[in-house]
Symmetry: D2
């Protein structure tokens, strides 16, 4: 057993931390909430230069052949900084789907562009139920001589307004046949795509997306027809664990800002941190973070080592969802009214937390998975 980072990983962490502190301070995060695009292309270019977009891709596609643990380290720092923009969507939802399941042609067409920062992607994972399950998909892909005709509606699609391509799951044949979802790469500029912004607590920009009648050529199908949900299932542990890593970073920041606040803020003539109850609150937060770390790192380690990880990944997300919730509740308890004003940084982490708790499956979703795996 070894719970430490290697020298290289430590270096990567330091670079990421320094870079994001400089490039994505909290004032910038605030600005990007109001910004229409939601992130600056200039920052995107710098990240690409650091090799972050292609960290997991093979070298012949412009990547760096890194491990999942390498990516984890960067995601943690991104979560800590609440980095705005479609990194997760482009690299993990888009890029990894293509890398794991796309044809050679698709890989050539997309991966180098993603790695270089020239292509932005997103994926439409949920329809109206928001259940992350194949059953809810009602979008249809009608086969045509030269490809498919796509029709349907998706909810909570992040960053489509700025993405170049979207991966769109749709049923190729009959609605009643569960195993007929296929994945398509669609250019977001195609006529017939309508997007409506959804206003929510989420810091990410999210949209409702309607596909009127969209023609897609056969070559833009990822993998086999009807096997699309399998592909998503294959990528799922990576998606979920990646999200946990990002959440870890946010948890650390929430803990640190709360300790700071408790040490600075005075009540009845002493700092808050002098009260035993406040001290115990902070200890509770620290322990929730500690458990979150190890349960996530273990999942990441299993993924990196290609060990079975379905249960462990579900445990990680279930745990992190609960821990981040508990931590922000406690942080608010300590901050009081000031924590809910929009000027307070905690307010931003709170919004991030609320959204992340349910993104890619909430506690119940993953508890069901764990329960099934234990049978």
């Amino acid at each position: 057993m070894d719970f430490g980072l290697t020298q290289e990983q430590m270096a990567l962490k330091n670079v990421a931390s320094r870079f994001l502190k400089k490039e994505s301070p909290i004032a910038f995060v605030r600005e990007m909430i109001k910004d229409e695009k939601g992130y600056p292309p200039s920052l995107w270019g710098k990240m690409a230069k650091l090799g972050w977009m292609g960290i997991l891709f093979e070298e012949n596609y412009g990547g760096y052949g890194g491990t999942f643990l390498d990516l984890s380290i960067i995601l943690e720092e991104m979560g800590r900084a609440l980095l705005p923009g479609p990194f997760f969507q482009t690299v993990i939802l888009g890029g990894m789907t293509i890398m794991l399941s796309g044809s050679e042609e698709l890989k050539q067409r997309f991966l180098p562009g993603i790695a270089s920062g020239d292509i932005i992607m997103t994926m439409a994972l949920t329809e109206t139920e928001g259940s992350y399950s194949q059953e809810e998909i009602e979008s249809v892909a009608e086969p045509r001589a030269d490809g498919y005709l796509l029709r349907g509606k998706k909810m909570f699609v992040p960053y489509i307004h700025t993405a170049d391509y979207i991966i769109y799951p749709a049923r190729t044949h009959q609605k009643d046949h569960s195993d007929d979802v296929s994945l398509f790469i669609v250019n977001t500029k195609t006529a017939g795509i309508e997007i409506t912004p959804l206003l929510s607590l989420d810091l990410q920009k999210q949209y409702e997306v309607t596909f009127r009648e969209i023609c897609v050529p056969k070559k833009d199908l990822i993998g086999e027809e009807g096997k699309g949900w399998n592909l998503i299932q294959g990528l799922w542990p990576i998606i979920v664990t990646a999200k946990c890593c990002e959440m870890l970073g946010a948890m650390q920041q929430v803990l640190e800002m709360t300790i700071d606040y408790a040490q600075t803020r005075r009540q009845f003539g002493q700092p808050l941190s002098a009260f035993q109850v406040i001290q115990h609150y902070i200890a509770d937060m620290a322990i929730d973070l500690e458990c979150s770390k190890f349960i996530t790192y273990q999942a990441a380690w299993r993924l990196s080592n290609h060990l079975p990880s379905k249960k462990e990944v579900a445990m990680a997300k279930l745990w992190c969802s609960g821990a981040l919730k508990k931590m922000t509740v406690t942080a608010h308890q300590i901050h009081g009214a000031i924590g809910f004003t929009k000027e307070c940084d905690l307010y931003l982490y709170f919004r991030y937390a609320k959204a992340s708790e349910i993104t890619f499956g909430d506690e119940n979703f993953h508890k069901e998975v764990v329960a099934k795996e234990m049978d």
Copy 2:
């Protein structure tokens, strides 16, 4: 023992419920969030006509001589409807302070106007610490020949932008002398009062208020000089219990809307409410509400019967703060992502809940009181 309402109380409840459903539907609440004033004077007039503003005042001041339980019933319905506007501030913080502690002259001057809906009031309860304690008050009232010169800053003052008068606590003598806070009624139009809106999750409009150099005549001092915090302490059980009643109404609405949602929303081919885990969640919410009710009603009953109630009132707020928090967390768990979009009604109750949990003392604040009372 008797856990039922009388016929009159039941009638009052029905009237209030019907009136608010009609006059303050959720679309109206949303509109008022964007409205600069935050409530329409026309609605205010109608409520005055129903006798709500003067319900607790004696009849010779234009009131109805009702009991605290009568007020409770109305507040519960107001909480359920998320009624916008400065009712709580005007009637309880302002009116009740004057009725319980004001001179005959002050009563004559203010109570009939409050009862008739012509006077709007607010009170500045917290400065920077937000601790609801005398210790934090640094505002100063320098005695002058003809009155006092007020100086200081207050935080989280609700609805001052629309209030005619504000009750302002300030230290009459030295800062280091704990027992020298006095309460002043100040016309909000006085030159030298600066207000800055605070943006927060709270649905109420809140302001930072600065008093530059405000002259107040002696007659606008409430009660004796230096005894102001005692007056607040005397009113405190009423303030806190009134808030609990309002929160009860919100809890009921959250429960009902969640049951509705669970029965309507389908997942995997059945309504959410068919899942055992969801059923248990809803049962948990119902029980938290049930306990909230009785612990609050008991406090209200003790207040109505002039029994010692310090511990019971603190228990009620502590409990309600926790219960409302738990209930909205569970409601969100059931609603999923949709619950955090701004179109979802739950989002408004969530904002109300977050603010109410800490208003007039959070769980820890009141736990300290209970702990002290148990010694």
Copy 3:
């Protein structure tokens, strides 16, 4: 609304409290654990003289025609004293079943004897599943010319070793027909009844009971054949609420002994009660007790006023089961290792608590009921 006791109820409470303090001090409780019978007939006689056994029975059966609230008050004091002996079984499980559902003949035969303290009864509520449901009953009552032949096995039957009669539910016809359970009163001295003591944490003496081939005359059937489970269902709210009242008393004692301990025990030079965390623990216990009281009293009040109470009773037991568990966990946290030694009084309340949490349905059992009632 009225949350107070009447003068008579207060007097009843005082008498019960004084009597039990004198007659059932904790040393006596300990002694009775080792005693084979488990309670002294002399005490039983004194309680009968106070009218406790017949408090709910009509006067023409030797009773006092009291209300359920009267009984509640006594049960609370019994719980506080951990009164040993088959009071609950004799008066509520046995007596009330007969009073509510028995023939005139059965009432005449049993109620006066119970009221006078001459008859001890018990009831066999569970078989192997311990689910308090009709489905689990496999005991059979084969109809014979002159009555029935009973066969079967019951678990967790309290005090049968000292009872004169047992109420025994058995299926009159086919196993697969759910609505065919009947209730029989059987003399415990009948040949063919075998009892085996079950050793458990429960302070009550419990037995496994086997009926080999027991003949019962027709007249000892309670109510109609095949309607026995309905009778139990009819009594169920009384059984469950009565148990909650008893638990309330134990909770109060646990709270008081923990406050005492915290004030006496010193650590690091001060009493435990000087630590903020300990103070908050005690406040939490007090609030859990407060909620337990009102949720139980409400159920008792509804029963006394013949209002629908299925949901409220289930809420009360579910809440009390959880609260008593939480309170003993916290009490142990404060007591430390000493709390688990057999000399410590808390250890006895802990055993009582563990057993009571599941007796007549645990949290889940009643949560299911609440969930169903809310649909």
Copy 4:
């Protein structure tokens, strides 16, 4: 990072598991509870032959020079089997104290005997407060020409009735001087030592120990005079982490027996494990175990690598105390009444859990440490 065991560690685990399954089945554990000694010398000899007693000692003292992780693996299996007997006391409290802090002469005298299974030891860690703190120590060691005269009383001393030697902390000089505790090795056969068994939930045999007037030669002082508490502090992370490892094993067994039970036991015609609520309970248990593992392994890894570990060790015990408590509460929820009967294996694990939660510091104790470390 690496979350796996090495081949050797895996082999060690398998041997320990098989050995303990055979030699310490649950029926044996039950027998040993009634046995006066509490464990059979024959088993002790076999364990010594496997090298377990000397696993951490250096080879020149009859040991095997293993790492703390090696010991962890064995302790986990011991906890799983509820292995009776003074292994922990002899090897960790006794042996490790001598190995880390004893003179060369003491090492020569005791370590080979411990390693060979010929010497049994225990330590008296608490007096009346049970606070595991230097402040509570009132035992006195009066300096004499030829050594010391020991006087005092200790509580909760495990297995002294069977131990050959006890390590006894006492104050060498004045009571008011905090830094004057010294550690003495005392032969338990010395006249003037009185022991009284304490009956508690703990499966371990515990005693109150009184030292009347016990002469101890200078050479039986461990380390420097007055530095004894430092020595205990030095060993403390090992003691606490070792206990966590043992608890991990018990948790695993509790989880497995609960899954078994839920799959076997039927209610309403299906196995308990078919109910969603039960499935979620089991998933919760699994996650609590998972976090317990990693937070403990991390502490063990830090100890093995001589990294600072005060905070991490405190977190581990605090977490494990809470997790084992939660897990047994849930296990009982699922088992129902049967879980509290003395025949049910869960009852034994429950007793183990209750005792372990507070042994070497309960949740609050360690939360204070974490809180201090975070400042």
